[in-house]
């Protein structure tokens, strides 16, 4: 197997709050993204997935852990050293309009990264801008437009072309389609696919939309409350789900297929209560308070990611040690609630 393009080891980020408390945004996050691969990072709000993405592009400084881009460690570099490396690692944000300077025209938006990374010739830049616009399917006449004049889908295309301007190899996609209407959403996903094939890009696709992740990603990591609870290939995660939270998440997805209705309803794993606060995290498994299968050991023991099978890691000792399988647990759950 080729070397991964991104390696994250034990990444932890904490944000200070008033009165000495801290909020744990992500904790001991470890994963790899393969060259030309697409890794999906899923979780609900507060899971820490956005923080991970931001740490990868240098917007947030990790408190501990390592981030490697190919054979270079990038989380501990001085800003002046990291800056030229930024042309390799870029990001597309969730809200396209918010991530564009309202006063800049499209051509200014696209020229900015080019100028910053040494393309001094205006003719060269203009040529590159035309190339970029064509690549994302925008007509050249939008070059003089400002963000407010474009549709949401087109705004996001501009953001994508900005991210691609310097020819990066790795792009963090932070919920790039969540704020778009469904038709625009699909077009953007198709565009991202095409660009990946054409340019050999690697993606980290952050999303809460499992339907999309299933279609788009090769590997998937599921996050809950700052930790990765399960990580593996797409098929492992979707067909061989092992962690109770991943299961609950998957069974909550409303697949656009009426035939799946009965099975979804029957398998819905109800996590009781609400997500606990990331300020006051419990000692053992973070899900223990809501998990119908929790026992005492879950509540006191620090849970590690364990290998269920090659490349499939799960943070749940009960399923990994074969004590129970999720299906029998689901059956017991149904019996309890009926």
């Amino acid at each position: 197997m080729t070397e991964p393009i991104i390696r994250v080891k034990d990444l932890s980020v904490r944000f200070p709050l008033e009165r000495g408390k801290t909020i744990q945004a992500c904790h001991n996050v470890t994963f790899e993204v393969g060259e030309r691969g697409t890794m999906g990072l899923v979780g609900e709000s507060g899971s820490g997935k956005t923080t991970v993405g931001r740490a990868l592009v240098g917007l947030v400084k990790p408190n501990s852990g390592e981030i490697w881009f190919r054979d270079q460690r990038i989380d501990n570099l001085k800003p002046s050293v990291f800056r030229p490396m930024r042309k390799n690692i870029q990001m597309v944000f969730q809200e396209a309009y918010d991530s564009l300077d309202p006063r800049q025209t499209v051509v200014q938006v696209l020229e900015e990264p080019l100028k910053l990374h040494g393309m001094d010739s205006k003719t060269e830049r203009r040529a590159r801008v035309s190339e970029l616009l064509t690549q994302v399917g925008l007509p050249l006449r939008v070059a003089g437009a400002r963000p407010a004049e474009l549709s949401a889908g087109d705004q996001q295309r501009v953001c994508i072309s900005r991210a691609l301007a310097t020819g990066p190899d790795f792009v963090v996609l932070d919920e790039p389609t969540s704020n778009l209407p469904p038709d625009a959403e699909m077009e953007i996903i198709e565009l991202l696919n095409e660009l990946q094939a054409e340019l050999g890009l690697s993606y980290l696709f952050i999303s809460h939309d499992l339907n999309l992740v299933k279609q788009f990603c090769d590997t998937v990591a599921v996050m809950y409350l700052s930790q990765i609870v399960e990580v593996g290939n797409r098929d492992d995660i979707f067909a061989q789900t092992k962690h109770p939270y991943s299961w609950a998440l998957l069974q909550s997805v409303l697949w656009p297929d009426p035939r799946m209705r009965q099975t979804s309803l029957a398998n819905r794993l109800r996590l009781s209560g609400e997500i606990p606060s990331p300020i006051d995290l419990p000692v053992g498994c973070y899900l223990a308070g809501r998990c119908p299968f929790a026992v005492d050991r879950c509540r006191v023991e620090l849970q590690e990611l364990r290998e269920y099978s090659a490349d499939h890691l799960v943070r749940c000792w009960r399923t990994v040690e074969g004590e129970v399988s999720l299906d029998t647990l689901i059956g017991a759950n149904k019996a309890m609630s009926s």
Binding site: E44, P181, P182, D183, P256, D257, P258, R259, R268
Partner: protein
């Protein structure tokens, strides 16, 4: 069981004045009916007029819009002829309403217990104690444990999912014959969304209410609706049972919606949107439609055709749908003439 119409709209038209003396025709000659106990989905791309239609069914139009024509029959009377106070009587008691963003729909200054009690007592003769008991009952039905304690909470103290459940309880507490829900779970986390919808489904099963569910999410439709109505350009363009909607969609607009969830069926529409200020004499979708014959489609008014007892479509070339699905006809990439 004889399925009776609970609500029936006939030839409904809603208009908005726009800049420069133009008029935006948001709803154009809609006929629809909702039968007792059924859950009907109302879908369509953004701008198709579904939220406007939902409001109009309650006799409302967001100022400066106006309902210019049509009748809405509820219990053998035309709602549109009611006075404001009569409408207020009906709303909440006979017709329940659930909007998105529950917290802003509630009064931030009153505890939720008081708000629910107010709703009950403004429509029924009950003393405070009995009203409170009914409120607690309803909250438990919609999945709020510890309901008695929750009565004392203010809206901003609730989580998103909890607030939405409260809104559902408020809508159902007077056992309305029909509930109109406009994107009732948008913005909620995935696991919470599924739970809230399950709770809504359980709630309406108990009260026997019918539901008109306005949404862009086809997953919602697949999992909760019995029947689906598709809107485009302010008109109903297709109506079908949910299985037929997904497997045998006939209208190009429906095909477009299905394409945008990536379920593998359906196809893209040409770019653009319906022009709602000057209504064309022919089909509103024609400029974006691959099936257009270029003549009758453009000039002739399109009526709703009854293909089977339960499946209607507003396209005289509906037979092409099956052929498109089976790949007998391929649709070229560049559809539409914009």
């Amino acid at each position: 069981m004889a399925a009776e119409d609970v609500l029936r709209a006939e030839n409904l038209w809603v208009e908005y004045p726009a800049a420069g003396k133009r008029k935006i025709h948001a709803v154009n000659g809609v006929d629809l009916s909702v039968k007792q106990g059924e859950i009907v989905g109302l879908v369509g791309e953004s701008g198709c007029g579904k939220s406007t239609l939902a409001l109009a069914l309650m006799g409302l139009a967001r100022s400066p819009g106006k309902i210019t024509q049509g009748q809405v029959w509820y219990d053998k009377r035309d709602l549109l002829k009611f006075s404001d106070s009569q409408l207020r009587q009906i709303r909440g008691k006979d017709i329940g309403i659930i909007v998105q963003n529950a917290k802003s729909a509630m009064n931030p200054m009153l505890r939720i217990g008081d708000q629910i009690v107010n709703v009950i007592r403004s429509h029924e003769e009950l003393d405070v104690e009995s009203a409170r008991r009914r409120a607690i009952e309803m909250l438990e039905v919609v999945g709020i444990n510890d309901a008695t304690r929750r009565l004392g909470a203010y809206p901003h103290e609730l989580s998103g999912g909890m607030a939405q459940r409260v809104l559902i309880a408020m809508a159902l507490v007077c056992r309305p014959k029909i509930v109109i829900a406009d994107e009732p779970t948008s913005g909620l986390d995935v696991t919470i969304q599924a739970q809230v919808l399950d709770d809504l489904a359980r709630g309406v099963e108990q009260t026997g209410s019918a539901v008109l569910l306005v949404t862009q999410d086809l997953g919602l439709v697949a999992n909760y609706c019995d029947r689906v109505l598709v809107m485009y350009g302010g008109q109903i363009v297709e109506g079908a049972k949910v299985e037929d909607f997904f497997d045998h969609a006939l209208h190009p607009s429906t095909q477009g919606l299905l394409w945008s969830v990536g379920s593998g069926v359906g196809q893209k529409l040409g770019r653009g949107r319906a022009n709602l200020d000057v209504l064309p004499s022919g089909c509103y979708l024609e400029p974006r439609c691959a099936r257009s014959d270029g003549t009758a489609c453009r000039t002739d008014a399109q009526d709703l055709i009854e293909v089977t007892g339960s499946h209607t479509v507003r396209c005289h070339r509906w037979q092409l749908a099956e052929k498109e699905r089976n790949g007998v006809i391929t649709v070229s990439g560049d559809v539409g003439r914009l």
